[in-house]
């Protein structure tokens, strides 16, 4: 079973269309291994993207160097998945 230890989901907010296109360009950067959870069509819609732990630093460098504002929506995805699985297991036990 695939695990996601240390994977983070970042919420990126573009200030303008130039920044939006910089974010969209990330879709083609296969080396980042990004999983876009929510994409935005304009600056009013944030972009949520799951980033594997081993590409977190280069991704954050890319964002910082282009002054792209982001927040960490999910700090460690595996922690949430473990909670979800634990709940399913406990209900099944009951």
């Amino acid at each position: 079973k695939e695990t996601f230890d240390g994977h983070q989901v970042l919420r990126i907010k573009a200030k303008d269309d130039v920044q939006l296109s910089l974010i969209k360009a990330m879709e083609d950067m296969v080396e980042f291994e990004l999983d876009f959870w929510m994409e935005g069509s304009d600056v009013s819609t944030p972009v949520d993207v799951r980033v594997p732990v081993h590409t977190l630093q280069p991704v954050k460098r890319y964002l910082d160097s282009r002054n792209l504002q982001y927040s960490i929506m999910i700090e460690d995805l595996q922690v949430m998945l473990d909670e979800e699985q634990e709940e399913m297991d406990s209900v099944a036990r009951d």
Partner: protein, 311 residues
């Protein structure tokens, strides 16, 4: 410990594929005069594509289609679909609005629209979204079943890279999970509403996603969407955005409801359920029933309008 009846089924937790299949069979067995199960095809890995039909008689009556789980990781949608199925049988004969709908129309509900993907999320990769068919010439598996429809197929808003989460597939309707619905809708020929349910981001969307050209029924669809999300918000205050796909969320080609609208199914909508990003696809199970209940109010608005405005 399988529940002995759909009354004992726990709608407030996430269930495995087999548990949902068992639920469907129990619901049919408990309501033989209202519910039947149709198998409209098979997934790539050979799993049945089950559709529950809710009907009070007639043949080829005007009908409403609802599907959940086309993107397998969006677990709150399959869970809500299960709750909707029970709600329909519980309310028929009690709720005048639903009874009026079912006295004239049929409802088709496909709860697990991507069973291979859903099984895979439970056993291998919780983040899986696509189908599970291998792509020749690539190490990457799966096609995005919401980019595989013959509506703007191949245009901007989908990827040609098999490793992308929005890979459109080698050609339109290449995925059996999609083709089975296409064939069913065409053979039925009397669908009047088509509602495909996703998560997350709390939006109610109507065509188009592949072009900025407004649909000819834009005004009616927009006003109906507003009424639906107002009803939804009346329960817990959950705020939705609404509008056309391309103007509200992003450009997407090969999308489900663009194809259904182009087939003449005027009331074509996509939901994006809870939440707005605190949990995303990992929505806690304690939000399943509230999400299903508020969404049901919006579904009733869409279905009542469809029933009251025959075309």
């Amino acid at each position: 410990a399988e529940p002995r009846s759909t009354d004992a089924f726990d709608y407030g937790r996430y269930h495995t594929l087999n548990e949902i299949y068992s639920f469907q069979d129990m619901l049919v067995a408990e309501n033989p005069n209202l519910v039947s199960k149709m198998v409209i095809g098979q997934s790539y890995q050979g799993r049945p594509l089950n559709v529950l039909k809710f009907s009070t008689g007639g043949t080829k009556r005007p009908a409403i289609w609802i599907d959940t789980g086309i993107h397998s990781r969006e677990w709150v949608t399959q869970a809500s679909g299960t709750w909707f199925a029970k709600k329909i049988v519980s309310d028929y004969g009690r709720d005048p609005a639903l009874t009026a709908i079912l006295n004239r129309m049929d409802i088709f509900l496909e709860i697990v629209t991507n069973p291979d993907g859903y099984y895979y999320t439970h056993n291998s990769n919780r983040m899986w979204r696509k189908t599970r068919k291998p792509n020749p010439g690539s190490n990457c598996v799966g096609v995005d079943p919401n980019r595989n429809w013959d509506a703007g197929f191949g245009g901007a808003g989908a990827s040609g890279n098999p490793c992308s989460e929005t890979y459109r597939g080698p050609r339109a309707h290449s995925e059996s999970e999609v083709k089975s619905i296409v064939d069913f809708v065409k053979s039925h020929g009397n669908m009047k509403a088509f509602i495909s349910i996703h998560s997350y981001s709390q939006m109610l969307l109507y065509p188009y996603g592949y072009t900025r050209t407004p649909v000819k029924d834009q005004t009616e669809l927009h006003n109906l969407a507003k009424k639906a999300i107002t009803d939804l918000a009346s329960l817990y205050g959950t705020r939705y955005r609404y509008g056309s796909i391309i103007n509200t969320i992003y450009q997407a080609s090969g999308g489900t409801i663009d194809w259904t609208y182009n087939q003449g199914i005027k009331y074509s909508y996509t939901f994006e359920l809870r939440d707005t990003g605190r949990y995303g696809f990992i929505l806690p199970a304690n939000q399943i029933i509230p999400t299903a209940k508020e969404t049901w109010l919006a579904l009733m608005a869409l279905m009542t309008h469809t029933n009251n405005n025959p075309y």
